[in-house]
Structures are given as C-alpha cells and as structure tokens.
Symmetry: C2
Subunit: 210 residues, 2 copies
DNA sequence: TAGATTGTTAATCGATTAACAATC
DNA sequence: TAGATTGTTAATCGATTAACAATC
C-alpha cells in the first residue's frame, strides 16, 4: 500500500464499488476476482486493483476477494459505520420525498430532525422524524451538534442559510438547491446536486445520437 | 475548430457552462473573457477555450465572448432548443416533486404526460399534466412517441419497464431508481441518478476531514 | 495604434491500462 | 504442485495547462 493523496476519480468510484459489492453480498456471493467484478461494472480489473491499493491489501493471490470482507472494508473507508448525524432543512416535496423514501441509515447517516417554515408541516412526523419550526433550527443545532445538513430550501435563501449553519458547526452539505454553495471556512464539504445537469447531458446525447 | 470526438469530460462540463452563462445573462452581463469566467467557475481559462473549441469559434480577440451569444450557442449544442418530448413514469413522492418543482422547459424538455399505478393519483393534474393509468402507457407511447422517460418507479420493475419502453421507441432515460439500467439496443442513453453515491462521497470527506 | 484576448499548438501532468513477479 | 489472481511497477493514453502567434 502506497501512501498518497487519493484522487477525486478514485473517491467517486468508491460508492459504486460499494453498491456492487453490497448487491453481490445480498445475493450470497462469497468470492469475486477483480476480473469478474470488472466485467460486471464495465471497467478494467487493473483499475479495480489499482483503486483498492490506495487503501490497503484486501485480496488474496489465486483466490480474489472475499465479498463480505471487501464490502465491509469499503463501508469502513466511506465512513458508513460512523453513523454521522444529519438534519434536513426544508420539508417541501423533495425534502418530504427523501424523508419518506431515502435510506439514510444504509449510507451511514442518522436523521436527527427536519425543519420547515410551513406551520402545516411543523409538528408532523415522517418515519419517526418530527418536523420542527425554522425558528428552532439554531438552538437545535447548537445543542445537538449534527454534522451534515440536507438543503432542500428555495434557492434565494440557500447561501445565507449555509453560512449560518457553518457557523453553528455543520461541516457537510447535501445541497439540492441548484445553487453552487461555497465558503471560506476550511474543512467544509459540499455535494451540490444539479438535477438539471444530468438531464441536459441526456438532452445532448439524444440530440446528437446515431 | 478541429473535427474530433467530444470527450465525456467536456460533455459533462457543458451544463455547468450553461448554468453560469444563463446566470450572467439574467444579471444583464454583456461580455465576459475566458479568464473572468474561469475565475468564477474555479477552472482555468485554457480549459474553457479548449472546451469551446470543440464546437466552434464563439469569441473575438481582444474582446472575449458575448454572453447572450455564447449562452445561445451552448443551449443549441445541448439541444435545449429542440423541445424533446418526455413522459414521467411513476408519480410517487419523487415523481410528484419533479412534476411540481422541476423546470423541464428550461432544460429543453416538454412534459407530455405522467403515469402511475395508484388509482388515487390517476386522473389528477399537476401543473397542467394529467396523470394516467399505467395500463395506458403502452398505447400512449405508441401513439404520441415521446423520446425520453423519467423513471421514478420501484427498483424491481425498473429494468423490465425500461426494456418495454425501449421497444416502444424511448431513447433516453432519466433514471432515479438506483438500478443501473442497460440495453443491447444501440443509441439508447441512460442517466442513472444515484442519490446515495453523492451522500456517500460526502460521508467519505466528513470522515477523513483535515 | 496598443492592449487584450482569442483559438490552437506544444508541453505537462495525471489517470488508466498492461505486464509480471510474488504467492496463495 | 499447477493454475489463478493478487499488488505494484512500468508503459500508454488522454486530459489539462501553458505558451504564443493571430487579430480585434
């Protein structure tokens, strides 16, 4: 195992490795070689071995990888076993859909609470999570110290809200607002989800097909 | 302008260019140089000029780029002006949220219809789009020939539904089911949206932070 | 005109793939 | 043991950045 900086390209492939290994694990597959995993995923065996070598030695010559073990190793690398606490800010259609359907626990996150301005929503409970008023946001975060915030609020309040939350200790944003957030504060991470970008990419391919 | 294959890296940057140019356009900015656009976007001026040169010559020496013009050129490259027709299959929480909030027109798509199995939803109308029964899907697609389908259905029916839709002429899938779809049919494109991947990436960064 | 900035070619950098000795 | 497959080093490929002549 070489000591090195892990490239973004590698980091972005890790969740996909995890998904495939989790799937194999659930199907009861015990072992897999880099070759057959590569075939399944449409990438080279070389790339898989190279990627994994950034983090350790997880395989065995002549055998390959134990699925359960490699799955657990990657889960560990991704921090899935850490149970980071998270809040959802904005419980409109999208926030509600995430709360209702998304398996946060499977990604290693625990949903502490959700917040919305609408009086109709405040006080209601979805899958065991009670929606609180935005007025309670600051004191709640100060007291409970969640580390990640899911932002499903209107665009115009996104950056100011993010700045406020960073001040209160939030260090990661799963940002669905279609605004690219930024900060001067170090060690704060943003995952900006731009739905429209993926649809535009699809539009490009459809337009230039064949 | 060199004649060449456009790399995936370039294609994936186009929507982001479009977003920034659209923003500048809406703010009334008339001209911009590759240098200042690069500063805003956090990339090099070289990369912008190199990327654009794949598609044509859109600037002017000593001046830079006319914002309105470059925005329109990129919109054209992305096919935003083509008004592709699209259907939404599955009108549960996520499908409903998209129908309610997402600006399909701005991405160059026109929502023809939506489909769901739930009798409670069938017949209701959201933003002018009537939700039809899944039983009508096949005949509807045959008759109206939409080109793209948004999939917001349960995982277990995703691939079989995709196969059926491909047979009916659908050529692009905006796939939210967390299953990686595939097909042997040529010139069919998938944009697989894996929410969980981006959250796992965030989890990785939070776990390994400075 | 002089300064600014393009489009493109050349240089660099990093990521992917291939090869292979080590070894289970 | 012999065959299979790893982890790692070396070779290749492609993408990014730098440089600069052309020119508005």
């Amino acid at each position: 195992m070489k000591k090195q900086k892990i490239s973004d390209a590698v980091i972005h492939r890790l969740p996909r490795y995890y998904r495939y290994l989790d799937d194999l694990f659930n199907k009861g597959v015990v072992r897999i070689s880099s070759n057959s995993l590569g075939d399944k995923m449409g990438i080279t065996a070389s790339q898989i071995r190279q990627d994994l070598s950034c983090f350790g030695e997880f395989g065995q010559q002549g055998y390959g990888y134990n699925v359960a073990e490699l799955r657990a190793e990657i889960a560990h690398i991704l921090g899935i076993d850490l149970g980071h606490r998270l809040i959802i800010v904005g419980a409109g259609h999208l926030g509600h859909a995430l709360l209702q359907n998304f398996d946060f626990a499977k990604a290693g996150f625990q949903v502490d609470s959700a917040f919305d301005i609408s009086p109709d929503l405040v006080g209601t409970t979805i899958r065991g999570v009670t929606i609180r008023s935005m007025a309670e946001l600051e004191s709640y975060v100060e007291l409970n110290r969640p580390i990640v915030a899911v932002l499903t609020v209107p665009q115009n309040v996104a950056q100011s809200l993010a700045d406020k939350l960073i001040g209160l200790g939030i260090r990661g944003f799963w940002n669905f607002t279609n605004v690219e957030l930024s900060t001067a504060v170090p060690d704060v991470y943003f995952e900006n989800i731009h739905f429209v970008d993926t649809l535009l990419t699809l539009g490009y391919r459809i337009s230039h097909r064949g």
